[in-house]
Amino acid sequence: MKVGLFIPCYIDQFYPQVGIATLQLLQKLGCEVEYPQGQTCCGQPMANSGFEHLTHGCNSLFVDHFDGFDYIVAPSGSCVLHIKDHLHEPKREAAAENIRARIYELSEFLTDVLKVTSLPARFPHKVGLHQSCHGQRGLHLAQMSELVDQPFSKPGQLLQMVAGLELISLDRTDECCGFGGTFCVAEEAVSVKMGVDRIADHVKHEAEVITGTDVSCLMHLEGIINRRQQPLRVMHIAEILNSTI
């Protein structure tokens, strides 16, 4: 199984440890992983701002780098959803379609493709799971609180496999954190307030760590936590699942 590793731009630049954990975790689980050099971004920052017409350069690069893999995996629900919904390349539409069908967010790749039932991981901490919206409502990584349906959570299921980890419950299971791409600067006041409230829910339930499937949300929450010097930290789910015994 040949897996193409897609590391979104802000993870590449600011959170390399998340990329490293993702790579190591996939290798640990027996995947042959390649990181195609020269990849940049999925194009979402432009598209969500109304500039989808400027994303053809990103789309073309994405097809250059990820055509031909059995699977493409990324530690970001948001970027994966963007590719699934919006990757088009007029000259190579078949390749683009193939990529759209083969790209997975890390936790769903673990539960649905690798069908992982146990992990050699240990993380003796109280952890809160922030269900990022694009993974949650776009990729259906977990049951959505608005819908009348059977409960499930793919990232939750994986976290339960980690020795010593105590998953705390939250008052609002899938409230948005307020990151929202350019929303975080264009609507600064509301964005920060949403983040503050999201953190407060975790603090109230004594989480030591906020984890999630999207670094973008975590980066926003971390920015607030650090400014307010609050007693908790953020970690991407890959870092926890890759924590060694």
């Binding site: 390399p16 432009m46 500039f51 690069l61 608005e146 929202g180």
Partner: protein
């Protein structure tokens, strides 16, 4: 309340100056959302019911012309007088003419978001007609000279103490009395006088049944009935999308409406109006005001399925923390943000961006409108039509050029991280909206791609 000078972000920023109040607003609406959830879980086949409602509305929108003609024929047969208004101005003109014909000086109005959309009240008042809003929440915001901030809960932004003060000033209740039961009783006495004196009554319409020509109006206070039964003239104003084919379809929509809106099984009154009482005139004003245009926009057509329950507002994390007035349009929140740009793309160019695209709105919508996807699509249209600010255009073009070239991206990333390490003040200053209340991420020495290249080389050498 169109505002040409202020956008959602600025108004939301102001709303957030009082954090305890934001918390109160957020928690109040979240409580309504939770009530809605409990109701949804208590109805077996809830998701199928939403699907059915969505399908019926899709069918209506695909056959709107025929159903409107059928409705008109039936309504005329029932003795109603039917009017057609192409836009808000024509709607206001028709209503004014009816009132003038009957020398009406004072009239009562039950809740109608359409008349808010058309700005009917100021038009009538400018022509010497007093309009009394009879929905309690609407009466409160009317006394406060404010527009409603929510389509179902018009004064949800007001605290009971503020309502007590308003009533003291306008209705003569004792100063400092903010007991909800007492204030409601005072409002009831006051409104009763208005009902008895009114020469005409305007109501909105929740559902108009093509098969029978009847209209259904849902209220909790019975104020639509009080007005319509007592006045000589009843004017029902409705958007053309309010049609449903048959009476039996009410069984779908009435089960969804109040559960989605306030978490009640049903509104206290579901009043059916079919024919005028003896000696009374019943007028029905069918209003387009941009709806045909929206029907023609394939990507946005589904927004016309809306039954105005307000569930998308209650669940919206942005609405809860910015308040209805920050949307500066009659219908606030997520649904308003996909309806308003159709009315005026320039004035409301900011609204589709007042969202994180979290998708919760689409999930609670009882008629399954793809609200967050339409928000995304409106963003594309607004930019294409030239309503993006020049600063945004420039930054997007710069971002695109960096992200479309691996070499530029590598250099820019290296430079960016280096600048952050060497001169944190360049980024960490008040000009940077991220930094105002958030720290920047600590810049690592190497990027993932640099680490990978080195690691792979070491692996191969090792």
């Amino acid at each position: 309340m169109n505002s040409h000078t202020t956008d959602h972000a600025t108004l939301a920023d102001k709303f957030n100056e009082n954090e305890p109040r934001v918390n109160w607003h957020d928690e109040t609406l979240w409580w309504v959302r939770k009530k809605r959830d409990r109701m949804a879980w208590s109805v077996s086949g809830w998701e199928k019911l939403r699907e059915a409602a969505s399908d019926i509305k899709r069918h209506v929108l695909g056959n709107l012309h025929d159903y409107l003609v059928q409705f008109e024929q039936q309504a005329i047969k029932n003795g109603a007088i039917v009017h057609w208004a192409a836009d808000a101005a024509e709607h206001n003109k028709i209503v004014l003419e009816i009132l003038q014909q009957h020398q009406v000086k004072r009239m009562v109005k039950s809740k109608s978001m359409l008349t808010e959309e058309c700005h009917l009240n100021p038009h009538l008042e400018a022509n010497g007609i007093d309009v009394i809003d009879t929905d309690l929440g609407e009466r409160i915001v009317q006394l406060a000279k404010e527009p409603p901030s929510h389509i179902v809960l018009p004064c949800i932004h007001k605290k009971k103490e503020e309502i007590g003060e308003l009533f003291h000033e306008h209705l003569g209740t004792p100063a400092g009395n903010a007991d909800p039961q007492f204030l409601t009783a005072a409002a009831r006495q006051h409104l009763r006088q208005e009902f008895l004196q009114a020469d005409a009554a305007i109501t909105g319409v929740n559902f108009a049944v093509a098969e029978t020509g009847e209209m259904v109006v849902c209220t909790n206070e019975g104020n639509a009935d009080m007005g319509a039964h007592l006045a000589k003239v009843h004017i029902a104003c409705m958007g053309i999308e309010k049609i449903i084919p048959k009476r039996k379809h009410l069984g779908v929509f009435l089960r969804l409406l109040a559960r989605s809106a306030t978490g009640q099984p049903i509104t206290t009154y579901s009043s059916h109006f079919r024919q005028p009482n003896p000696g009374q005139e019943l007028h029905i004003v069918l209003v387009d005001n941009g709806r045909s245009r929206q029907l023609g926009r394939e990507d946005f057509r589904n927004s016309l399925k809306c039954i105005r329950c307000g569930a998308c507002m209650n669940t919206c994390p942005v609405y809860r923390r910015s308040g209805g007035h920050s949307y500066h349009t009659a219908v606030a929140g997520p649904i308003g943000s996909i309806l308003a740009p159709n009315l005026d793309m320039k004035d409301f160019a900011d609204l589709p961006f007042a969202s994180t695209l979290c998708g919760s709105c689409s999930n609670v919508c009882p008629v399954k409108i793809d609200i967050h996807q339409q928000l995304y699509k409106w963003r594309q249209v607004i930019v294409q039509e030239g309503y993006a600010t020049s600063g945004k255009k420039m930054s997007m073009k710069m971002m695109t050029s960096v992200l479309s070239s691996p070499a530029t991206y590598r250099t820019a990333g290296k430079m960016g991280r280096w600048v952050l390490r060497a001169f944190p003040g360049m980024v960490n200053n008040r000009m940077n909206p991220w930094y105002k209340q958030r720290e920047m991420p600590a810049p690592p020495k190497v990027s993932f791609s640099e680490w990978y290249a080195k690691n792979k080389k070491d692996e191969q050498q090792g």
